[in-house]
Symmetry: C2
Subunit: 313 residues, 2 copies
């Protein structure tokens, strides 16, 4: 039995987790998911990363986008647009049911973690998916145009604005959700998923106690580079590395993760960086293909990552 | 020019208004609509009577039910049901867009009356549709099982519980919406639509100032009986007349409206009650067909009602 805790953002983390639950006991896996991207939209509480992870693991996700649901329709959103309502956030008719369910339960006083547990159980998932916190946490993005709420930056602004700063509103007073501390303490392996270090992983670490639990387990922590050949597989990670003054490469990411992880998974395309990362960060670097194109490559990355972590620990 | 203000509930009022705007200048018509049935559902603000009136006048209503939209689908609700969410309130995918639009605008601080104005303008309506108040007003229904929120009584409980009492939460501090006072003061004719006197008309009158504006214009007020042959055309009006100790007939309704109206529109089926109503209530009774089966009968009732009111006024 290998208990695995995964620090997770959206699409990249979801794909990694999809491989992971196929190469280990799903019930030994806990995904600790970012909620800094959460938003209120027309009265509804939307948790994009929780939904992406859940839909992916439940095999409901739209494979074209990596988020949203397969076979989705947009009748409601189209009518909303005709009415002159806010139509920039792409919400499908089936997806809407998740947001209504979540909002209904929240309005009854249930914590987000319990709602997520019930949703994932209803969808037949064996692994644990938990928000990092049940408290309000919101990523605020500093741009030339001033501070933007995360989805205003990410979806409405298509992540086009250079990011000068990030802060996580509510972090100081947020507490880890019940299963988060437990999963991090019990984990044989903690994986930092191939997610955006700034937008996905940092919000998780901003919740008091989480960073400490990770660093104190550094020997068991493995980070998977989200950068391949100087580019993010998806999303604005490379742009943000640049605008915040980091090296736009796996090395730049490795430096950020050096105090958290003892093992770093580097894509073969970047193998020339391996010795530099090892000498500069003290992490052991393991090179393998990291691009997740299909089930096989997801599984190979997950098992390779576990093996690399367990070899060291 | 005949300025007409209509005190309106849901389906019956909507059908009356649909006839009215076809026999007079729509821009001279103001529908003052009940919001005691409004509810919060999964984070969304739902205004069933405003929607029924709006959808009907925009020729979007489902003709089978008299509420909801034509060509509606229920993908979201079906998925919500699969997720274990609240599925007793029948919300369609297109209808949902209205609730999202309204909730979004409310969350931005816009008053319900302004939102309703924009929605009706977007749908091309010429008449004014306004909530009776922009403030929170909620009908609470006293039953054997205790007090129920309106939709818990009406939809969830299918209006099956005997009603012992009614109160209108928030009424004391509610203020008429901007156009309500103006419309009632300027009206050449005020129509009490064929709606439920207890569930639709009473909440309107509970808003401070509204009852006074109606009674001080009593000479111009005409009430249309919602009871035909001792039965409500739709809904629990007859049951409530009975459980609250009123005569279950147009006479019972006429007694309730006597202090508000000077003219009472009675269905031909009840013509035998005409002289009794006249002598007992002091209202002038005008007998005509009141069942609204199609556009022609709606128009005939509306023009007959206007004519009856203007003959007296």
């Amino acid at each position: 039995m290998t208990r695995v805790a995964v620090l997770a953002g959206g699409v990249g983390a979801a794909r990694f987790l999809d491989g992971l639950v196929r190469v280990t006991q799903p019930s030994d896996v806990t995904a600790i998911v970012n909620v800094g991207d959460d938003m209120e939209w027309a009265g509804l509480h939307i948790s994009p990363d929780l939904d992406t992870v859940t839909y992916t693991l439940a095999d409901l996700v739209n494979p074209e986008t990596g988020w949203g649901l397969r076979g989705e329709s947009r009748r409601t959103l189209e009518r909303l647009s005709e009415l002159g309502g806010p139509d920039w956030f792409m919400i499908g008719d089936l997806d809407l049911a998740t947001h209504l369910y979540r909002t209904h339960r929240l309005s009854q006083g249930d914590p987000l973690s319990a709602i997520t547990r019930d949703l994932t159980a209803r969808l037949g998932l064996q692994c644990v998916i938990t928000p990092v916190t049940d408290d309000r946490l919101r990523t605020v993005v500093g741009t030339d145009a001033g501070e933007l709420a995360f989805q205003d930056y990410f979806v409405r602004g298509r992540a086009a604005d250079p990011v000068h700063s990030l802060r996580f509103e509510g972090a100081e007073s947020a507490r880890p959700a019940p299963l988060v501390t437990q999963a991090l303490e019990a984990a044989d392996v903690i994986v930092i998923a191939p997610s955006n270090p700034f937008l996905s992983i940092d919000p998780l670490l901003s919740v008091p106690g989480v960073r400490e639990l990770v660093t104190s387990n550094r020997d068991n922590v493995v980070a998977v580079s989200p950068i391949i050949g100087g580019q993010a597989v998806k999303g604005p990670a490379a742009d943000i590395l640049s605008s915040l003054g980091h090296d736009v490469s796996a090395l730049g990411v490795a430096r950020i993760y050096a105090e958290l992880a003892s093992v770093f998974i580097l894509d073969e395309e970047d193998s020339s960086l391996a010795s530099m990362i090892e000498s500069e960060t003290g992490m052991r670097v393991v090179v393998m293909p990291t691009l997740m194109k299909d089930v096989e490559t997801k599984m190979a990355l997950a098992s390779g990552t576990l093996k690399a972590a367990l070899d060291v620990a």
